[in-house]
């Protein structure tokens, strides 16, 4: 049995997933863990991995290979390989929902949409590389101003009765719009649903640009918020797949890709031994 750790070094959190493969292509997820990302990516990766190891009941020496992904993937010195979060997100989503051909990934500072082939290979993608519009930061700043915890945002948003639109694209300027809503007496629920609607609009525009078709799988930390999932489904007019551990999908994908790479490496090594 080979154990590979996939570590996704995101802007907000670092997530680690341990995946085992036993010769056959069937993989099993052994454990997961996360840590807050900070200035030191290596430290965050270590502690996320440690918590995944504890979750799985394994020791560090039992990990055969480490694959990193996410914006801080180069900051982890103990990695064996790194993959982009576009590749890893598609791979992870494909593993969980083999019928899905389109992935939406909204994280702390990023929004990505990609389409993929039947085997989970990325065909087209778009990302918000220029600015934080449409990313989780938009929600995080609003939650901070409204003095509510980020975990409560999703459920509060579901209770909205009269959502107030937020027109701003910019996560920073949206704050002023929110201030105006608050001083006009708009309820927190209606403001939050307005934010989710605004984010869903942006996500939908990105999905269209990437050439969305078939089932959409929604991953990333923001997919944890029920309000945005509802807003997206309403605008899309269809259900979207949201895996229970939607924030670990890139880490999972990295681990799966790590396995593939490890098997290739071991194969070529054994060929060399034979020759």
């Amino acid at each position: 049995m080979r154990v590979v750790a996939g570590i996704d070094c995101g802007s907000g959190f670092t997530k680690a997933v341990l995946v085992a493969q036993n010769g056959s292509p069937t993989s099993s997820i052994l454990g997961k863990g996360r840590a807050k990302s900070g200035i030191n990516m290596e430290e965050a990766a270590q502690s996320a991995l440690q918590s995944a190891l504890e979750n799985a009941g394994l020791g560090r020496s039992q990990v055969d290979y480490v694959a990193t992904t996410g914006f801080g993937r180069y900051g982890v010195g103990f990695r064996d390989i790194q993959v982009t979060e576009i590749t890893s997100g598609a791979r992870g989503a494909h593993y969980l929902f083999p019928g899905s051909r389109c992935v939406l990934d909204i994280g702390g500072q990023s929004t990505r949409a990609m389409t993929m082939s039947e085997s989970g290979k990325v065909r087209t993608f778009k990302t918000n590389d220029k600015c934080a519009a449409g990313s989780g930061m938009f929600i995080a700043r609003a939650a901070k101003y409204l003095e509510i915890s980020i975990e409560d945002v999703g459920t509060l948003s579901l209770q909205a009765t009269n959502p107030q639109p937020i027109s701003s694209v910019c996560a920073v300027l949206a704050e002023s719009e929110i201030i105006n809503h608050v001083s006009a007496g708009v309820s927190v629920e209606n403001i939050l649903r307005g934010i989710h609607d605004s984010l869903a609009d942006r996500a939908l525009a990105m999905l269209k640009r990437v050439g969305m078709e078939g089932e959409v799988t929604f991953i990333g930390g923001v997919a944890l918020q029920a309000g945005i999932v509802k807003a997206l489904q309403e605008k899309l007019g269809a259900k979207v797949n949201v895996p229970p551990d939607c924030d670990y999908v890139c880490a999972l994908g990295a681990a799966l890709l790590g396995h593939k790479r490890l098997a290739l490496k071991e194969n070529s090594a054994s060929i060399q031994e034979v020759s």
């Binding site: 500072q109 220029k130 600015c131 934080a132 519009a133 910019c170 920073v172 300027l173 002023s176």
Partner: protein
Amino acid sequence: MRVAAGVDVGSTQTKAVVMAENGGRSILARALVDTGANVRKAAENAFLTACRNAEIPPTEVGFVVGTGYGRYNISFGNAQLTEISCHARGAHFVCPSTRTVIDMGGQDAKAISVGSDGQVLDFVMNDKCAAGTGRFLANAADVMGIGLEEVGPLSLRATRAIKIATVCTVFVESDILSYLAQGKKAEDILGGVHLAIAKRTLSLARRVPIEPDVTMTGGVARNVGMVRALEEVLGSKMQVSPDAHFMGAIGAAVFALEKMDQSFESSMWRPEHASGSGH
């Protein structure tokens, strides 16, 4: 002597100017207050403070023009005009050779092409993104743990300005943190940040296009680092008046004096008009 006032209700600060016409036009007093959540109250405060500074009873102010994003919340205003017209007019009043205004305020950045009489010929505006606004700089100052007024002077001391690829306020925030963690100097980081914003603002402004003289207005004009970065990218000097922050309110006050003339004239004509219709 006839007195009028202009009140510029900006997103962050509200400015009021009291102006007199007595042969020529002159600024009697200014006032500056934080806008806060109660826009109406801020406008009132700024106006009354300016009147007090001018030692003129508010009842003697013949006409008030409101401008800025909160202009329709001014309960005592006689007329409202866009901040674009007012900045152009204010810049023309302070510096008649102005042909381009670059206005960087609390939440938006604009470039205005100005005619020889202070009229607006064309403008471009960025209100979708906080880059180049006071909010951007306030955020950068926050992240670095320094005061907003220190950001500009500190950036002037940069010896090796860091190249900053993004101008998104949120992304720059994490960029600054990682540069600080790498041990880069605060002044070099800020030098890079100011330069990136100057480039972006001028690429927006070039759409009007830019003709000399260029006058900078808005609260960000008080940031010496931004002024220098803009001049560096522009390749020429700008007019930066100590009243740059008040330019919208000054323009509004000039318009108020003119409108006062018109309403005075129309009130003179009214009886004549009435007798005419009586025949």
